[in-house]
């Protein structure tokens, strides 16, 4: 099962509200039901806070969740 690797923010120029840093696409791991996926997501380079864009949550992520739940 593969996820498209790179998901930017849906729209706009996003910053970490606490650190003030502009978000960068960084590799993070997503887990669900004993499976793990590497994915590039907008992340604060300073504190590591990561954004899950709506298009990802409701698109590929929902699809993979449903697939795993049927395993």
């Amino acid at each position: 099962m593969s996820m498209e690797p790179n998901y930017g923010p849906d729209a706009g120029d996003w910053f970490c509200a606490r650190c003030g840093e502009r978000l960068e696409q960084r590799k993070v791991q997503a887990f669900y039901m004993n499976s793990a996926f590497d994915v590039l997501l907008p992340r604060c380079p300073s504190c590591g806070l990561t954004l899950v864009p709506k298009s990802l949550a409701e698109g590929k992520m929902a699809e993979v969740e449903a697939l795993l739940e049927d395993k």
């Binding site: 706009g12 120029d13 996003w14 910053f15 970490c16 509200a17 606490r18 978000l23 993070v28 791991q29 997503a30 887990f31 669900y32 039901m33 997501l41 992340r43 604060c44 504190c47 590591g48 806070l49 990561t50 954004l51 899950v52 709506k54 949550a57 409701e58 992520m61 929902a62 993979v64 969740e65 449903a66 697939l67 739940e69 049927d70 395993k71």
Partner: protein, 769 residues
């Protein structure tokens, strides 16, 4: 479910059974497919099919008595299909489509005694399997056929005899004497006696032999008797003789190859009939050929009259059955296989979870097939063995917990008298959506009924039942029982049809009666109204078997000055709105199709006695009333038109509605619970944003909790130009994301989304699961 249980379930669906034409044919000729080919102009395919199904096709087609035509459902709708004439057309106009493949010769030889039709079929079938066959006959080899079928054309005989010449069949002129069979039994591996051409040699009638095998004894089979008409005339049925020839050929083959004569032959005699609905089928007259026989165009038109018999009565009515593109028999098989998967994808989960468990198919099906039982058992198995998708019913079960939890539930005797002869159980969805009306109807019941009327605000537990979560249902039932018993086991007055069903399971010893039957008893008969407005009565699927409920609803509608009209598929055959079986949670799009479909069945304003029917139809834009909108003690407005367009309470409002009703109920006892804590942040959510959120099962309360949590930790993102923040919150199995902005008047919510995946160390705050 084991294999035999599966077969028992499958047997209730006849969609794969034979159409009547094929079922009555002793050779099981697939007439329906034959007609389909001709109608589509595929004469060669039609011929191929004939050759596959019929032995001695030229002879058989010439002499067949076509029982299929008698059985044809078109018979009274323009005349039976002209099967015989179409077969002749195909045979005359297309070249042979199958090549005779020579088989390696076998050692065992077969004797056929008598060249009647059955005997020749045996010779035809077994010579094609490589067995040398000697056909012993008296006089000319063709005489027996000419005697039984005087009209048989010589061309047909010539054609088949030419074919016999290419197979190991030898015709031997012989004298029939008493010792002949005995001799042949010694000389040949097996013997067939044709009871038309050589009847004198074997004094057996049809009833004397096992019809399934036509085995006489040892290596002898017989068949091909003639029939006797009521007037005593001798009549040869070609289809029957040929059918017996084939049955005997199978037995003889098994005899010679040492296989069991009787095992696994059910299919040969499987004559279950495919149910075929004929409503709405127009009569179309038989196409008559301009000349002696059909031409291609005439044949196609005649074949086009075939009804292509099929059942699918349930599938045509149910959006769920239709969506999966097959029919209950194959669904049963898929669900059975789904349960057997150990590693891999459970591809039929969607099937088990998409059924509203409403029981309509069982009512419509001539055999009473129950998808509800099938899917419910599948769900129970999924829960028990741990492969129920987490997300399928999670929201509904949380909703159930809220409805039965401390913030919504209450269980008390009559506030004035402290007595409790009866207990009003409005149901958690009516309580959620129509709190003020629930309160008013309860007051009315208290005024008019003796012995005290208490109230129980709670879920009935049906969501757990529908989810297949038996332990949860049982645990909930135990709590209901404790409350009910502490009130002295009162009779329950129930306002929801699904609650009636669930309470009957949870409290089998309780007396239950619907609210409508009570109200019908209490409200006076009204004078008939001239030109009364008409409403379409939507029976809830839960009231399918609640006759009292349905009659009381109709009576109350009349008493309210309206004329109730039954739409199609009403009463026991009513259709679900998509709430049943938690489809609204597991497959919201499926549930919406169900609601839209039901809405389109109702020509007038829908009159519902179930709040979920009302709200789900109304969400489809259908003008819909709940019975409480009409009754004098609960009508909010005198204009039924306004009530029928009243907006539907969303999921967040429903939860808040339950909390508010509990406060109002407690106020009847002079109690004022402390007001809920004021929210730290005031949320401003536009209606369309809230509606979008709720489509994803995100509640106002979830967003409130999320924004407050995000603001406390400060862990959020900022889009500089718009000033919007985005942050996440994971209170349970779900991560909620909210896009918002803070202003002087409060927190404006722009969007919210959620997912179940977990991104550890990257997301905040860390109430990890």
């Amino acid at each position: 479910m084991d294999q035999s249980e599966l077969h028992a379930v499958e047997a209730h669906c006849t969609q794969e059974a034979m159409p009547r034409c094929r079922a009555v044919c002793p050779l099981q000729m697939d007439v329906r497919a034959f007609m389909e080919h001709i109608a589509a102009g595929r004469a060669r395919d039609a011929r191929k099919l004939l050759e596959r199904h019929l032995p001695l096709p030229a002879i058989l087609i010439a002499v067949c008595d076509h029982p299929c035509e008698n059985a044809c459902l078109r018979r009274d709708l323009g005349g039976a299909l002209a099967v015989g004439a179409l077969e002749r057309h195909v045979l005359a106009t297309t070249p042979p489509q199958t090549r005779l493949i020579p088989r390696p010769p076998r050692q065992q030889r077969l004797a056929v005694l008598g060249a009647g039709l059955a005997g020749l079929v045996v010779a035809w079938e077994l010579s094609r399997k490589g067995f040398p066959v000697d056909v012993l006959h008296e006089g000319d080899a063709r005489d027996a056929l000419r005697r039984s079928y005087p009209d048989i054309p010589e061309t047909a005989l010539d054609a088949e005899w030419t074919d016999f010449g290419k197979t190991p069949v030898t015709f031997l002129s012989s004298q029939y004497d008493a010792a002949l069979i005995g001799r042949l039994r010694q000389e040949y591996a097996a013997v067939f006696v044709d009871m038309d051409a050589a009847a004198t040699l074997l004094p057996l009638q049809r009833d004397d032999v096992d019809a399934a095998t036509l085995h006489v004894e040892g290596n002898v089979c017989c068949g091909g008797w003639t029939d006797e008409t009521p007037t005593g005339a001798r009549l040869a049925s070609a289809s029957r003789q040929a059918g017996e020839g084939r049955t005997a050929a199978i037995t003889l083959f098994r005899l010679m190859t040492g296989a069991s004569l009787a095992a696994s032959r059910e299919q040969e005699n499987d004559r279950r009939v495919l149910h075929t609905p004929l409503d709405g089928v127009a009569s179309v007259a038989r196409v008559l050929p301009a000349a002696a026989e059909y031409d291609a165009d005439e044949a196609a038109r005649e074949a086009g009259r075939c009804l292509r018999c099929e059942c699918l009565q349930c599938v045509r009515e149910c959006a769920f059955l239709e969506r999966h593109k097959e029919f209950p028999r194959t669904y049963a098989r898929k669900i059975y296989n789904n349960a057997a998967i150990v590693k891999g994808t459970h591809t039929a989960n969607a099937l088990a979870l998409g059924c509203a468990l409403c029981g309509q198919c069982t009512e419509i099906c001539p055999e009473g097939f129950s998808m509800a039982d099938l899917c419910l058992h599948a769900r129970q198995d999924m829960v028990e063995r741990g492969y129920m998708p987490q997300s399928a019913h999670e929201f509904a079960l949380e909703d159930m917990a809220q409805a039965s939890g401390p913030e919504s539930a209450v269980s008390r005797p009559d506030p004035a008298t402290g007595r409790c002869a009866r207990l009003f159980f409005p149901g958690c969805q009516l309580a959620a959506a129509r709190g003020p009306q629930v309160l008013r109807v309860w007051r009315f019941l208290r005024e008019r009924l003796d012995g005290g009327v208490g109230i129980m605000l709670s879920c009935c537990g049906v969501p757990a039942f529908w989810a297949g979560n038996t332990p949860l249902f049982d645990e909930h039932a135990a709590r209901l029982r404790a409350d009910w018993e502490s009130l002295g086991k009162p009779e329950l007055i129930v306002a929801c049809a699904s609650c009636l069903d669930a309470l009957a399971r949870a409290l089998p010893d309780a007396r239950l009666r619907s609210l409508w039957e009570y109200l019908d008893d209490l409200l006076p008969e009204a004078a008939p109204v001239a030109d009364a407005p008409v409403v379409s009565i939507q029976d809830p699927c839960g009231a399918r078997h609640q006759e009292g409920w349905r009659a009381a609803v109709r009576s109350l509608v009349r008493k309210c000055g309206l004329r109730g009209e039954d739409p199609r598929r009403s009463g026991t055959e009513t259709a679900c709105c998509g709430y049943g079986g938690l489809v609204w949670n597991a497959q919201p799009d499926m549930a919406d199709v169900m609601a839209a479909r039901r809405a389109s069945d109702l020509p007038h304003t829908a009159l519902c006695s179930c709040i979920m029917c009302r709200d789900r139809l109304a969400r489809q834009g259908k003008e819909s009333l709940h019975l409480l909108d009409l009754l004098p003690m609960t009508a909010e407005t005198s204009a039924a038109g306004a009530a029928s367009r009243a907006p539907v309470a969303g999921l967040s409002a429903r939860r808040a509605g339950r909390v508010a009703l509990r406060r109002d109920v407690l106020a009847e006892y002079g109690e004022t619970p402390p007001p809920p804590e004021a929210a730290a942040l005031h949320l401003i959510i536009a209606d369309e944003v809230l509606a979008r959120m709720e489509d994803r099962f995100i509640l106002r309360q979830d967003v409130q909790e999320a924004v407050e949590g995000i603001e406390r930790t400060g862990q959020k993102f900022l889009e500089k130009e718009s000033g919007h923040f985005v942050g996440s919150w994971r209170p349970r199995h779900v991560t909620f994301w909210v896009e918002y902005a803070i202003s002087d008047v409060g927190c404006v919510i722009y969007d919210a989304w959620c997912h179940r995946m977990w991104l550890p160390g990257a997301m905040q705050p860390g109430k990890e699961i």
